[in-house]
Amino acid sequence: MMVRVFFMILMCLAPAWAAAQNGPLRIEITEGVIEPLPVAIPDLVPEGGAAGDWGQRIARVVAEDLTGTGLFREIPSSAFISQVSDFAAPVQYADWKAINAQALVAGAVSVNGNQINVKFRLYDVFSGAELGDGLQLAGTTDAWRRIAHKMADVVYSRITGETGYFDSRVVFVSETGPKDDRRKRLAIMDYDGANIQYLTGSESIVLAPRFSSTGDRVLYTSYETGFPRIYVLDVGSVQRRVLESQPGTMSFAPRFAPNGRTVVYSLTQGANTDIWSMDINSGQTQRLTSTPAIETAPSFSPNGDQIVFESDRSGTQQLYVMPAGGGEARRISFGEGRYGTPVWSPRGDLIAFTKQSKGRFHIGVMRTDGSEERLLTASFLDEGPTWAPNGRVIMFSRETQGAAGRSTLYSVDITGRNLRPVRTPDGGSDPSWGPLQN
């Protein structure tokens, strides 16, 4: 009887099995490769006699932007089979496919007086189709690098699906001189180290500059009076003003709230350091923490609802999250070592931090609940992470060991790959990455 039942079930399943044999062949791919995407970026076609070598210069910046991400690999022009000599001419996909170019950036540039006009298209070579529509960018010749950065942002965004970060600036502390006589001053530059400008002199020590969410102002700490005080600097006019502080206190580690009107900072009274907030316009303050421990380095979540900060209330330096208006804090770091300088990702999904463990410093990231901690770097001294506007890249400062040690800015992808230094004329520390420019 059981045998009959078994075979009856088998007979019932047979049609389904037979049906499964029909239809398309089905396979599942779960393993891929992680390698830079080969892209061809020929010089922009000059249109008009005044274009000069602008096409080549812009193409080089675009190529450096893309290859600097570690996600793209530029195919050298010497390998090109065909050249883009006419922006309107159809693309010879076979020629680009033959050199394994998966993407092609073809553009043209024209110059009229001090006005420069760039138009370009992005092609998916193997699909034989254009990725998105063509774009045209216009500006002054002085802003040609920004035009190139914006062009690269578009290419990056269309291929990766993430917003770009090339047309952005970084404010940092420029350092010169030996460790025992180091001079520091605020500087601002393009994300790639170009167009550097100094915002302060080197007469006094400056620390921890922080961009506002709109990129028009910078908060920083200065020892100009002998005590640390917080200043607000307008980037456009380079005008500054000091934030009010209580006599006999030290204020430092400021950071803007996403709304741009509130500032959170650390205030030391006696031997106790707590986190406070201040309305910039009215000067009204609010105490957010009240413990005998040292609590500092506050950073807002992107929506402004929460604050992550470091505290040694548990006996060791750990990371905590509390509501933006103060209240009960929740510890999120439990690993071995000390955690500090937390910074919330612009995406809101990760928190970057500095970790000191077993005599080495690391830059790492973790989920906002403390899970999935990953250490991205390791060296004698890595500290001060800051997020790129798209939340994909982290910049930080690395200092080498010894009396002649030098602090340098580095960037790293959140995957831990593509660690590379940022070119600055002098040493650099305490970077703060601003938003994408308009």
Partner: protein, 379 residues
């Protein structure tokens, strides 16, 4: 697709035959014989040796009597015994067993004299009649003459449907064409039970066959139950006839269209057996080597996309046919990015065509690839 139908048909026929005529009754008789023989001891056997001659006398007595009785029991089972009439003569012993009831009263008084010795041999003899009785149930074949009639009415339903349509004289020409299509569907339904896609195109033909049914509705109750009975019995033999007859135009066109739509051009496409695991792995590895997720966003790395692609016989994908069938785990923008990466992967590594067996082209003419980046995510 045809391979699946053949395998399914053979499998069904074999299983049905085995269940009906196979060892459904094999489990009972074995233990019965062995236990009875093992019970007898050597002493009992020796004791039985001297009693041996007595049964000889019994057989002597029985032989003259039984042949007289034989014709009577043979007459009762008249229809089937024509074949078995000869064997009873050489072996008189089984004959009384075959007809236990009528001869039983007569030999009993004779055997009663030898009662103490005979019980044991009777048990051994009991085993034989059990086996011999099986032919009696096979005498159920007597019923065969009756069933011989049913197969005709079963085949009749095919004819009945045609007659029923002819009864509705309205729309004669159309109804004839529709009648011819109906038996095709019946046969293809059998196929559809075994293999769905092959039956799919034929299923679409059914609606026109039902249209003429309204005038036949008076006769519906009978054909409806008959049709399901016909389906399992009437085999594809009936298919070619109606196809060649009338609905050739419609069915051919429809089937061609469906074949094209389903990508299953069966005429010139070598189907072959399904791809082996090794052949599938080779294709999977080839695509994997070109699936570059390095430039994908973190959201796109959490998006699984299902991509369909039609292949040419030289193993190259038909690029315009690469489409995003479905996605899960991410936004539409992320799905688009993941799809473009998948499309590049399919196209990139196929300059010389994928290494796929040409004799199985029908098996990989259309491929559905699922790109699951779970293992490639940033962790």
């Amino acid at each position: 697709m045809n391979t699946g139908q053949v395998i399914s048909g053979i499998g069904h026929a074999g299983l049905i035959g085995w269940v009906l005529f196979g060892g459904a009754f094999q489990s009972e008789p074995l233990p019965f014989e062995v236990t009875e023989v093992s019970v007898i001891s050597s002493d009992a056997f020796e004791a039985m040796i001297p009693t041996g001659p007595s049964p000889d006398t019994a057989t002597d007595v029985a032989l003259p009597v039984q042949p007289d009785v034989e014709p009577d029991p043979v007459e009762t089972p008249t229809p089937d015994e024509a074949v078995e009439a000869e064997p009873p003569e050489p072996t008189p012993a089984p004959e009384p067993d075959v007809v236990p009831e009528p001869p039983a009263p007569e030999p009993e008084p004779q055997v009663a004299d030898d009662a103490p010795v005979q019980p044991a041999p009777q048990e051994q003899a009991v085993v034989v009649p059990d086996i011999a009785q099986r032919p009696v149930p096979r005498a159920a074949e007597r019923v065969a003459p009756d069933p011989v009639a049913p197969p005709e009415p079963e085949a009749a339903p095919d004819d009945v449907q045609q007659e029923a349509v002819t009864e509705s004289d309205t729309g004669e020409s159309q109804q004839d064409a529709q009648e011819a299509t109906a038996p095709e569907e019946a046969t293809t339904e059998i196929v559809t039970e075994a293999e769905e896609p092959a039956g799919a195109p034929t299923a679409s033909i059914r609606p026109p066959a039902r249209r003429p049914s309204p005038p036949v509705q008076t006769a519906e109750p009978t054909p409806e139950p008959e049709q399901p009975a016909q389906e399992p019995q009437t085999q594809p033999e009936s298919e070619p006839e109606p196809q060649t007859a009338e609905p050739a135009d419609r069915t051919d066109d429809v089937n061609d269209a469906l074949r094209q739509a389903l990508g299953g051009a069966d005429d010139n496409v070598p189907q072959g057996p399904p791809l082996s695991a090794g052949e599938k792995d080779a294709l999977r590895v080839a695509v994997s080597n070109c699936w570059n997720v390095g430039s994908l966003s973190s959201e796109a790395l959490q998006t699984t996309v299902v991509v369909t692609v039609e292949m040419s016989q030289d193993g190259k994908p038909v690029i315009p046919s690469i489409t995003l069938a479905s996605s899960s785990g991410g936004s539409q923008a992320a799905a688009q990015q993941a799809f473009e990466a998948a499309r590049r992967a399919i196209i990139r590594c196929t300059r010389d065509g994928y290494d796929l067996p040409a004799e199985k082209y029908g098996q990989w003419q259309e491929i559905e690839m699922t790109f699951n980046p779970e293992r490639m995510r940033i962790k």
